[in-house]
């Protein structure tokens, strides 16, 4: 898996149309000697497999090359921004789980009532709203009209509230639906009826007995959301001018800054793989039927 990722990320550079030297010199004509010098500096004069080996060698030393535009090391650019994106993703995920589970349980317990209808309608709408548009609406309400919260940059935790809420609300929609339907499936089962029949408190049955089993499909969907939260963060960071790697990547694509693009792609790919692994482990903790060999 890791090998496949490094090959794919490396191939992005080979496949890139146009000469990277032209991009670096911003299309200005340069003499042949300068051109050859730049090619040597970037390692473009070597055959492809040697380029890959030197790329891998750089990776091992933590060297991802230099940004074509700012000339700063890619590693440094990513290191200053990566923690911000992680904070945004974690905060969004927390909001999504909190709202998703609460509304899902409410809808299941009060099924076929007004509460259920409202929750289900909002969840369906939530799956149809573009996150960046919700972000604009929240900026307008909380930042412009009521002037309650900052809408740009990341100087304090208050800057996190709007972007994390935007992403969290969107992701909560899918979680809420999943919690509702899986809890409804479980509530029908015999063991829940038995627990109620032996006189256990309804709250206890719901949260201890039913939720224990309803959580398993919920963790699946939350695991899938880990990817979605990263993808969503990329767009949301642009909306809120949030200094994370998403905003960095999108600017890098606009400027065709390929060392930076490759670096971010690699970091994001590794993050996704790590997150998927974490979800698998969590799965084992919640579901004792799964054994790790």
């Amino acid at each position: 898996m890791l090998f496949a990722i490094t090959v794919l990320v490396f191939l992005m550079q080979v496949l890139l149309p146009g000469d990277p030297v032209d991009i670096m010199t911003l299309g200005q004509p340069v003499d042949a000697a300068t051109r050859a010098g730049l090619r040597r500096e970037l390692g473009l004069d070597l055959p492809v497999h040697e380029q890959y080996l030197s790329y891998l060698g750089g990776l091992v030393r933590g060297d991802l090359g230099r940004s074509v535009r700012t000339r700063r090391p890619v590693m440094e650019e990513i290191r200053t921004r990566y923690p911000n994106t992680l904070r945004l993703a974690a905060a969004s995920m927390a909001i999504a789980i909190l709202i998703g589970v609460l509304t899902g349980v409410l809808a299941a317990v009060y099924r076929d009532t007004l509460i259920d209808l409202v929750v289900s309608t909002l969840a369906t709408l939530g799956l149809s709203v573009p996150a960046f548009w919700l972000g604009l609406i929240l900026i307008f309400q909380f930042g412009v009209t009521w002037q309650l919260l900052p809408v740009m940059g990341f100087d304090s935790w208050r800057h996190l509230i709007l972007p994390a809420s935007t992403l969290g609300l969107i992701l909560a929609a899918a979680i809420s639906r999943m919690v509702r339907s899986s809890l409804l499936d479980v509530l029908r089962l015999d063991y829940v009826r038995t627990a109620k029949a032996k006189g256990l408190n309804a709250q206890h049955v719901l949260w201890r007995h039913a939720m224990a089993n309803a959580l398993i499909p919920v963790i699946t969907i939350v695991g899938l959301q880990v990817g979605a939260v990263l993808g969503g963060a990329f767009i949301i960071e642009v909306v809120f001018a949030f200094p994370g790697i998403g905003e960095l990547a999108i600017r890098a694509i606009q400027y065709r800054d390929f060392p930076l693009i490759q670096g971010v792609t690699l970091v994001v790919a590794l993050t996704t793989v790590a997150a998927n692994l974490l979800v698998d482990v969590l799965y084992g903790v919640v579901n004792p039927q799964i054994q790790f060999s």
């Binding site: 496949a4 992005m12 149309p17 149809s128 573009p130 996150a131 993808g231 767009i235 999108i250």
Partner: protein
């Protein structure tokens, strides 16, 4: 099939979805002919006008009529949907049928690649492809389409494997039908229902991704009246012209909602055991 249709027409979400999607198609077909304005015509003296009888949805920072641009944008929306879903369907569908039908090393290689790609969210795959191809509307459609290929390949392969073991396929082969014939006639026609569901549910995903890419400046480029790209100026003029936020956003929501409702209704009707709330 009759039972499926019967279930379908009793679901209200099917009707709401069908009406919303039908409305979009109608606007795309006849809208531009009925709105006399030019979606690209600038008028500096009319810039940033609030909604009025003359400009129903106001004007943008170049004095262009927002309503006209929304109507013309509906064509772009449909084109983005058809082209990107078409790419995913053709490429992913072929990969899936071949992998499922042929099996062996081809199956192992294709599905191995699909599994690696499925580990990443589609929007990030699309971004990586745009990083290679460069920004723009055409590249966005290609990128969003390719990003959906792994999902299509997996579903089509599973459906193919399911059909492959049925008696009529065995009979067709026993009667001497060639592989190509069996794939086209017998397998192709029998995996239509899961594919229809998949296609309908891919539309909203493709539209949301393309709009997001348009918004961050990597998709449709100005002055194209793409709804996502139209929201860029909405952000820049949020204080002076808040009406610019509403129209493109609501247009996207209604379209995506329509396809979502339609797709969910189709899925529930084709597969009553997998009823999602």
């Amino acid at each position: 099939m009759k039972g499926t249709l019967g279930r379908l027409i009793r679901v209200p979400s099917f009707w709401i979805g069908a009406v919303l999607v039908g409305l979009l198609v109608l606007v795309a077909l006849v809208g531009p002919a009925l709105t006399p304005g030019d979606p690209y015509a600038m008028n500096v003296r009319q810039r940033l006008q609030p909604p009025s009888p003359e400009h129903w949805l106001g004007t943008d920072e170049f004095g262009r009529d927002v309503f006209t641009r929304i109507v013309h944008g509906s064509r772009l929306t449909l084109r983005i949907g058809f082209v990107s879903v078409g790419i995913a369907l053709v490429v992913g569908g072929l990969m899936g049928v071949l992998a499922g039908f042929l099996g062996g090393w081809f199956d192992v290689v294709v599905m191995g690649l699909v599994d690696v790609l499925l580990a990443f969210p589609a929007i990030l795959l699309a971004l990586a492809i745009i990083a290679v191809l460069g920004p723009g509307l055409t590249n966005t459609m290609i990128a969003v389409g390719i990003a959906a290929v792994p999902g299509f390949a997996r579903v089509v392969r599973a459906a193919t494997l399911d059909v492959k073991e049925r008696v009529f396929v065995e009979a067709a082969r026993a009667l001497g039908g060639s592989s190509a014939h069996v794939m086209r006639r017998h397998i192709g026609t029998n995996i239509v229902s899961p594919v229809v569901v998949l296609v309908t549910l891919q539309f909203p995903i493709a539209l949301l991704s393309s709009a997001a890419l348009g918004f961050v400046g990597l998709g449709a480029q100005p002055p194209e009246p793409e709804w996502g790209a139209m929201l860029v100026s909405a952000r820049d003029y949020l204080r002076r012209a808040p009406w610019l936020v509403n129209a493109p956003g609501i247009a996207i929501v209604l379209t995506v909602l329509g396809f979502n409702l339609l797709g969910n209704a189709l899925r529930d009707a084709y597969d009553p055991t997998q009823r999602h709330a």
